[in-house]
């Protein structure tokens, strides 16, 4: 990633492509199965952003996975907005700007790495009904109502499964009071 940012190293960029293009494509196909053109478009758009914005990437703030996930998420939101799913003038980048503005200290950076490791291990052990709900929401981009309808479970069950999963993965700092 550094080589892309500093030296505009094409070989390094090609490596990023090798790793992330299939992930981005699958991420897009998770929402729109069969829409290969849309998926290729998203791959291009995200990786072009990576190329153009590489110098703004800050490794103490987020690992490369997270950075590229947020780019893919934002590109997908903007794509859906352009195509009429969201009627608004607001760009995805505007929505998430406040979260990105925080400068983490060294402690947060280390903590973040631990959290990522723990989540990774925890995901394997999550009950299927919980990981299914997470996949609907994160990968397929479904609203909670849509997830409930597709899984044929009440909306309240979707919410409680998400919360249980977050508790198991220890994602929440404050615990769950609601």
């Amino acid at each position: 990633m550094k080589r892309v940012a500093k030296d505009r190293d094409r070989d390094a960029f090609a490596e990023l492509f090798e790793h992330f293009a299939p992930l981005i494509r699958s991420y897009s196909l998770a929402r729109d199965p069969g829409a290969h053109l849309v998926a290729d478009e998203l791959v291009q758009e995200v990786l072009i952003r990576v190329w153009l914005k590489a110098h703004t990437y800050n490794s103490s703030k987020a690992n490369v996975n997270t950075w590229i996930f947020t780019l893919a998420r934002n590109c997908r939101i903007d794509y859906l907005r352009r195509n009429g799913r969201y009627a608004s003038e607001v760009d995805a980048d505007d929505l998430f700007a406040a979260i990105e503005a925080d400068e983490p200290g060294p402690f947060e950076t280390t903590q973040q790495r631990h959290t990522a490791d723990r989540i990774q291990r925890g995901l394997d052990q999550l009950p299927v009904d919980q990981s299914n709900v997470l996949a609907k929401i994160y990968l397929e981009g479904k609203t909670q109502q849509e997830a409930a309808a597709e899984l044929r479970i009440p909306l309240g069950t979707v919410k409680s499964r998400v919360r249980l999963a977050l508790q198991k993965l220890e994602v929440l700092i404050r615990g769950e009071e609601q």
Partner: protein, 226 residues
């Protein structure tokens, strides 16, 4: 710091990018005021990244790679000339959360308020494709919103001033969710200043019978006017 937060499952939908825009706007404005929710959201993005990296992939041809690598030449130039430091930044209107700046280019001072009652003014910002209406609402200092029930979910984020209802006092950055279960919601702005809120109201239930359809224009009027 805010004492009223979105639930964890709603935050996770926001981090996942799957929340309807009207709700996402409200969460985003709250997060800008709430360091605690920002930290939670960063962790929820980590979760997203782990799910994203674990997604099953299938190999495909390399045409796309060739095309993209060729495209870099034309882009390289833009990247070099357009460094973020030199981009002209539009003068940020004071008091306007980032996610609302495009909708409020002239800041809160430049809002064209529509008078709904002596104490209440509203300004429409946008309507989501799901029919949810996003509005700014101004309650004059000491003013009271008429008692109302909620047909769909109403989300309120305080942008300036404060208001209270039977359940508590809400200040800048606080986010409040109200739905059908909350009866007779009756907010009052504090005496010392006008209260400005961002509100998002889910589409009212549509009557679909032949005669009832004639009623729809009546209930489509602003949620707060009666």
């Amino acid at each position: 710091m805010s004492n009223h937060h979105p639930s964890a499952d709603r935050l996770s939908c926001f981090a996942a990018g799957s929340l309807p825009m009207n709700q996402a706007l409200c969460i985003s404005v709250h997060a800008e005021h709430c360091p605690q929710c920002r930290r939670e959201l960063q962790r929820l993005e980590l979760l997203g990244a782990e799910l994203f990296s674990a997604v099953a992939v299938q190999r495909r041809s390399d045409n796309l790679k060739t095309a993209l690598m060729a495209k870099l030449d034309t882009l390289g130039l833009e990247a070099d000339t357009g460094s973020p430091a030199t981009e002209p930044k539009p003068a940020a209107p004071a008091n306007v959360p980032r996610s609302l700046r495009k909708l409020l280019p002239d800041g809160l001072q430049g809002v064209h308020w529509k008078r709904l009652s002596p104490a209440i003014y509203a300004a429409k910002l946008c309507t989501d494709v799901n029919g949810a209406k996003v509005e700014l609402l101004k309650i004059k200092a000491g003013g009271q919103v008429a008692s109302h029930n909620h047909s769909g979910e109403e989300i309120t984020v305080v942008l300036a001033g404060s208001f209270s209802d039977a359940d508590g006092v809400y200040r800048r950055g606080d986010i409040i969710f109200r739905d059908r279960e909350h009866k007779h919601h009756r907010p009052i702005a504090s005496q010392d200043a006008d209260c400005i809120c961002l509100t998002s109201v889910a589409a009212p239930i549509q009557f679909t019978g032949f005669f009832a359809r004639l009623l729809n224009p009546l209930i489509r009027r602003s949620h707060y006017s009666s």
